[in-house]
């Protein structure tokens, strides 16, 4: 019967549920979400490609040299690439909903 107080108390409390699609909480400042990439700042060193634990980064030649291509569907959000990038060309992001119906949305160039 110990539960009685708790459940009756809940009658007068608001809901704990977050009505997700309608109300979206904003993640905290250092949340690791979908990363961004600035191609102009990249020097093509390939470090990110080498460290990525999930093999989510492939190198692709775009005429100026090898540049990384990020496959978000394989990304494990460890942000190792951001840490090793010497020019800070890879940017942290806060987007956490990466669901899409097109695979091309999940490639960051």
């Amino acid at each position: 019967m110990r539960m009685l107080r708790d459940v009756l108390w809940n009658l007068f409390k608001g809901r704990a549920t977050v009505m997700y699609p309608e109300e979206r909480g904003s993640p905290p400042d250092n949340f690791r979400g979908r990363l961004g990439f600035n191609r102009d700042e990249c020097i093509g060193c390939g470090l990110c490609h080498r460290v990525c634990p999930a093999s989510a980064i492939e190198m692709e030649n775009d005429g100026r040299g090898a540049r990384p291509v990020f496959h978000i569907e394989r990304c494990i959000y460890c942000y190792l690439c951001i840490e090793v990038c010497p020019t800070k060309a890879i940017k942290p992001g806060k987007e956490y909903a990466v669901v899409t119906s097109r695979k091309s949305d999940l490639v960051v160039r």
Partner: protein, 303 residues
């Protein structure tokens, strides 16, 4: 009556959700009121699966029988007036017999399927009957004795001045609630359905319209038992009225009273963990049944 059944399911779900700090049904209709209906329609549209080795006749007849039985039983419950839609000599007894018959359909549906889970669920349901049937019967019959007859109309009429619950029948009401909880297979007595042990017991092999019918029959039973409790202890649909407004006020009284009973049942289901079958039987035979018999004999003596 069907609307009432669906409304009661919605109320039950919403209230329990509130008690657990959740939201409950929300999207279908205003405040999710149409969710039970949507569930039913969805189940009806599902693929119909009959497992190999099923006794098909029983499997098909049980859901239909369950719903029909409860419709009949519900027709006896007084809702808008001192009398129900149907009326018969000793209709309280008829309702009690139907409740037992309904459990029989559960048992047969569960044992018709070849699954071991459903067989265990059916067996558990049958064993549970041993525990709660006596309290359910005797607590209802005592009221009948006190009222001097087993017609619900008579019992309700007897409570014009004072509902039975205000007297010594409070014990009977409590016993009735506990037995009803077991009959409805709600927590803590959801032993035949126990999800984490035998998946969902006797329901496990039911699909499509059979599952829909059984789920609907559970809602009907919810209405039946809260309606019955209202009639037996709370004075049914009657209450203080301005003359001429009975037609309007009686249904409202009935709703208010039976919904309070429903809320009590829901509250009860949030307070406990599911107990084990042997513990349930022990609980019934050690405490509930002696208490019931004492109460019954006391009533007989008073009368």
């Amino acid at each position: 009556m069907s609307c009432l059944a669906l409304l009661f399911e919605w109320l039950d779900r919403k209230f329990v959700a509130k008690l657990q700090n959740r939201v409950g049904p929300k999207y279908t209709g205003p405040f999710g009121m149409l969710q039970p209906l949507a569930d039913l329609v969805k189940l009806l549209s599902k693929e119909d699966i009959i497992p190999e080795g099923t006794k098909t006749f029983l499997f098909n007849i049980c859901p239909v029988a369950a719903v029909l039985l409860l419709f009949i039983a519900n027709s006896f419950v007084p809702t808008v007036h001192v009398e129900g839609v149907l009326k018969a000599e000793g209709d309280l007894i008829i309702i009690l017999v139907i409740i037992t018959l309904y459990l029989l359909t559960i048992y047969m549906a569960g044992s018709a399927a070849p699954s071991r889970y459903s067989l265990m669920g059916a067996a558990r349901a049958a064993v549970m009957l041993l525990g709660f049937e006596l309290p359910l019967m005797f607590s209802s019959l005592s009221v009948g004795f006190a009222a001097g007859g087993f017609e619900l109309s008579k019992i309700v009429a007897k409570q014009f001045e004072r509902p039975f619950i205000a007297g010594p029948h409070l014990i009977g009401f409590a016993i009735f609630l506990i037995a009803a909880q077991a009959e409805l297979e709600k927590i803590p007595f959801d032993i035949p359905e126990a999800e984490t042990e035998i998946v969902s017991g006797w329901l496990v092999e039911l699909s499509s319209w059979r599952l829909a019918f059984f789920r609907f029959s559970k809602d009907l039973e919810l209405v039946l038992l809260s309606g019955l409790a209202t009639a037996l202890y709370l004075g049914g649909p009657i209450g203080p009225v301005i003359p001429g407004l009975e037609v309007l006020l009686y249904p409202l009284y009935f709703l208010a009273k039976s919904i309070s009973v429903l809320f009590l049942l829901s509250l009860l289901s949030t307070l406990f963990a599911r107990i084990r079958l042997d513990q349930f039987i022990r609980l019934c035979w050690r405490y509930l049944i002696p208490l019931t018999l004492a109460y019954f004999l006391a009533m007989m003596w008073v009368v």
